[in-house]
């Protein structure tokens, strides 16, 4: 009885506290954007004069708020920071691209076209080693400061100096200097035809250098600005400003009124929804406007649903089966004849069908949309040919090998495990047993990058949108070495790759990339590229003018919401 009385007293006290606090107006909780609204609103109601006028004003404000447009994007966030100098995740690109300007950008419908952005024009010296950019005048950051060449130089030097994830992109850059208020000079230590493409990346974003320098920003490893930038509103000059960011939870962006390119939607929210099934339910219920991480099966289920549309776009991501070419780790797979046999054993059409909308098999390592793309693959499944090649290689009864797979990874909605199981069943028909070795991502990456895996299901998303990036697959280069493919195993191919990396004439480059892929095919390179993924999103029908980009995913400023 006594405890009942105590309980009642506690409940009553809570209720009283609530009602008393309610009278106080709840000052303690600050909604996103409250501070901006407060600054814009008149401080006193004196100007309003009469009560009626005040009432009208309130109504008008309420109406304005009601008509303020907002979209919510559901995404399995892979990034844990939105500091351009450290950020290197595909989904962070859409935030950085909309929040900051880079010197140059790309055409979302043709990523090989470089377009002006913060820089209105540029010149390249005859030797290809000096780039001079002229900036637009009068561009203002959200902090109110005008963007000048010193900001560009600071931001690019910081990317290079902090030794973060994207620092290697500027390895060929010798110096970045402000050579005038609106002139930036970039000097290279080696010719790099991909430089302009690299400068379009979100990592090359330009922000207020004074704020950065005052808050721990430096252009070397002692930099501590990352903690500040992730905890405060962004200071760029893009169409939107980050007003609140909680790592692993949400990003809130609001339209920047002084941006050069104005967005039509007032607020864009990205919510972290790691589970694809939850994303599917949220988009069906209408609580989110975009579901970015659905699998092919899930998007197929949503086709034709009322109030929903599916949007399919391209990616530059290629998926491949890596077969180690070294005798030590590849064992049977080190034999080129075996690799050729496996190439004919795989059912490419079946894999692409499993991967969903937009997936196809490219003929080589250069994805569609890049210079030197060799078209779709003409190799089709031929079980008899595969068996006879295996017999020629000395394995008439097949053999067994291990293949590393990350089981819960599905970039672009393409499940590694589903791919592995399909390939496993295809190979079984020619007598080859592929043991699927499920590995946690950090374990998989360690052994794969050490080149000690016999085979893996791999995916390559380019670091920048130029064919030079795909040269990593050549013997002696990053991916080549992981596949046990050393330079001495194919010296001519390695030499041609080195030549192509420095060539500036696009016609010559295109032919070089085509030749490289042909030579890789003839040498039975240790990869079977089985698909280039598409990307399908489920989107609420009220969202219009969606222009997906393989480079920066989505530009929020393009989007419109139907009233």
């Amino acid at each position: 009885m006594r405890s009942m009385k105590k309980m009642t007293a506690v409940i009553l006290a809570a209720a009283m506290a609530m009602s008393l606090s309610a009278c106080g107006g709840g000052k303690g909780i600050e909604k996103a954007g409250d501070s901006t609204t407060a600054a814009a609103a008149p401080e006193s109601s004196e100007a309003a004069g009469t009560e009626a006028a005040a009432g009208e004003e309130t109504t008008a404000a309420a109406e304005e708020e009601a008509s303020a447009s907002q979209i919510i994007i559901g995404s399995a966030m892979t990034y844990s920071s939105l500091d351009p100098a450290h950020s290197y995740d595909w989904d962070a690109e859409m935030v950085l691209h909309s929040v900051y300007q880079s010197m140059v950008t790309v055409d979302p419908t043709d990523e090989s076209k470089i377009l002006p952005s913060a820089a209105k024009e540029w010149t390249i010296s005859d030797d290809g080693l000096t780039y001079v950019f002229t900036l637009n005048e009068g561009v203002k950051f959200t902090t109110g400061k005008e963007m000048k060449a010193e900001d560009v130089a600071y931001c690019l030097n910081r990317v290079k100096g902090v030794k973060g994830n994207p620092s290697f992109l500027l390895d060929t850059v010798d110096s970045v200097e402000a050579t005038g208020d609106y002139e930036v000079t970039v000097k290279l230590n080696a010719v790099n035809p991909a430089l302009l493409s690299i400068l379009t990346r979100g990592s090359m974003a330009i922000y207020d250098s004074e704020v950065a320098a005052a808050n721990g920003g430096t252009c070397d490893e002692s930099d501590t600005f990352q903690a500040y930038i992730d905890a405060n509103p962004s200071m760029g000059a893009g169409s939107y400003q980050i007003t609140a960011y909680t790592s692993g939870s949400e990003v809130i962006m609001e339209k920047y009124a002084d941006a050069q390119k104005q967005g039509s939607i007032d607020k864009v929210i990205i919510r972290n929804i790691p589970d694809a099934s939850t994303q599917q339910m949220e988009i069906e219920a209408g609580d989110i406007d975009f579901a970015l991480d659905l699998t092919a099966d899930q998007t197929a289920l949503l086709e034709g649903k009322e109030n929903l549309q599916t949007v399919t776009s391209k990616t530059f991501d290629i998926f491949f089966l890596m077969l180690n070419a070294s005798e030590e780790y590849g064992k049977e797979l080190a034999n080129p004849k075996v690799r050729e046999a496996l190439k004919y054993a795989i059912d490419y059409e079946g894999i692409c069908a499993l991967a969903g909308n937009g997936a196809f098999t490219p003929a080589g390592i250069i994805p569609s949309g890049f210079l030197g793309y060799a078209g779709e693959s003409t190799v089709t499944r031929d079980v008899e040919k595969a068996k006879s090649l295996l017999a020629e290689a000395g394995y008439p009864d097949g053999f067994t090998f291990n293949c590393g797979v990350i089981p819960d990874m599905a970039p672009d909605g393409v499940s590694f495990m589903m791919n592995a199981e399909k390939i496993q069943s295809d190979l079984a028909e020619v007598g080859v047993t592929m043991n699927i070795d499920s590995q946690e991502v950090s374990v998989y990456l360690e052994s794969y990058r050490d080149g000690t895996e016999q085979a893996v299901i791999g995916q390559w998303g380019p670091d920048y949108y130029d064919s030079n990036n795909q040269l990593a697959f050549l013997p002696g280069n990053t991916v080549g070495l992981r596949a046990g493919w050393t330079e001495d195993m194919a010296p001519e191919l390695a030499a041609l790759g080195a030549e192509a990396a420095q060539e500036t004439d696009d016609t010559v480059r295109e032919q070089q990339f085509l030749d490289i892929q042909k030579m890789m095919d003839e040498a039975d390179a240790p990869y079977i590229v089985y698909l280039q993924a598409g990307r399908t999103w489920a989107v609420n029908s009220r969202v219009q003018n969606i222009v997906p980009s393989a480079a920066f995913v989505l530009e929020f400023a393009d989007l419109k919401v139907a009233q």
Binding site: T278, V441, E446
Partner: protein, 338 residues
């Protein structure tokens, strides 16, 4: 006096346990296969020796293991849990951000599991081998055996998507996203600052994940309470009470409940700690930004400071709950003396 001595001894033991946990966690997380560099650097950045060297130096990964541990413990004694390799924020501030969310979920789940576990256990014992007992035993078995991820998706599908009676995933609705809450404990903030909308919103978002989190513990508690009640019901003094003509309700309240609940107190206390450990899956499916989701990301990226921080936090809660249970046990059962 004896009790005070006991409490003092237990407090010292708690420190020893925490120290042991720190060594075990540190060793396991560093000895499991996997490379934090591979998990945190991009494919091409990993091939750049300068970036790799800078990264190792920055996070102290170039030091021998024992030096890394000593440095960690030194900093820990100064209140510094290190900086997360993944988020680049101090682990302490990361935990301060995520703990309130998980604390709220685990507390509501504990209330659910104790309330329903007790009720169902009592009902089951009172109606021993009758229809309610059979039904409740099936339910408790289901609660224990149904995987959390499956139950989460099923409940979301039925109650959110089809019936629309609860909000979807997340901790708050879109109106409150990005808001700054003074303490981070939304229920407390909503009451303290007079925001009934926020209170409704936060409680709505807590119902399903808390229920899923509680399901297994609820099942175990139902069975524990049932069996201890049945044991008490076999005692001679119960027969005497019945012979004296006491009503069934009075017998249950004054004799069965009082004596039968003592063994369940241990379960009540320990369930809180196990609920915290169970938040990983539930928080992933319900997109609930708590310690579970943070711990999962830390584990998959081999973010050592964050792994240590979350493990020590969960271990501390468990150790503390154990301690409290022992004290409460001594208070409610006069036979127990330390």
């Amino acid at each position: 006096m004896n009790m005070l001595k006991y409490i003092g001894r237990r407090l010292i033991l708690m420190l020893v346990v925490m120290f042991g946990i720190s060594i075990i966690t540190f060793c396991i997380s560093h000895l499991v296969p996997g490379d934090p560099l591979a998990a945190n650097l991009g494919q091409t950045a990993m091939s750049d020796p300068e970036i790799v060297a800078a990264y190792e130096a920055k996070w102290g990964l170039d030091q021998p293991l024992h030096v890394q541990y000593i440095n960690y413990m030194k900093n820990l004694f100064h209140g510094d849990m290190g900086t997360s390799i993944r988020t680049k924020q101090p682990v302490l501030s990361d935990l301060a951000q995520y703990i309130p969310a998980t604390f709220e979920m685990a507390t509501i789940a504990t209330i659910f599991s104790i309330l329903f576990g007790l009720l169902f256990g009592l009902l089951s014992a009172a109606r021993h081998n009758k229809l309610p007992d059979h039904i409740l035993r099936v339910f408790s078995l289901m609660g224990i055996s149904i995987p959390a991820f499956w139950l989460s998706i099923l409940l979301l599908y039925v109650f959110y998507l089809r019936l629309g009676v609860v909000p979807g995933s997340g901790r708050v609705g879109s109106d409150w996203l990005g808001a700054k809450f003074p303490t981070g404990f939304l229920i407390f903030d909503a009451i303290a600052y007079g925001e009934p909308d926020l209170l409704r919103d936060a409680l709505g978002h807590l119902i399903l994940p808390s229920f899923v989190l509680a399901a297994s513990t609820m099942g175990i508690l139902t069975r524990t309470v049932r069996s201890s009640m049945l044991e008490v019901m076999q005692q001679d003094y119960l027969r005497t009470a019945k012979a004296k003509g006491l009503s069934e309700g009075r017998i249950l309240r004054c004799h069965v409940l009082k004596n039968g609940l003592i063994p369940s107190v241990t379960m009540f206390g320990l369930s809180y700690g196990s609920l915290l450990g169970g938040t990983v899956l539930v928080e992933t499916i319900f997109s609930y930004p708590g310690v579970g989701l943070y711990a999962y990301k830390a584990a998959t990226t081999l973010d050592f400071p964050a792994i240590m921080g979350t493990t020590l936090f969960i271990a501390a809660v468990n150790v503390l709950m154990n301690f409290l249970v022992d004290i409460i046990y001594a208070v409610i059962d006069p036979r127990i003396r330390y």
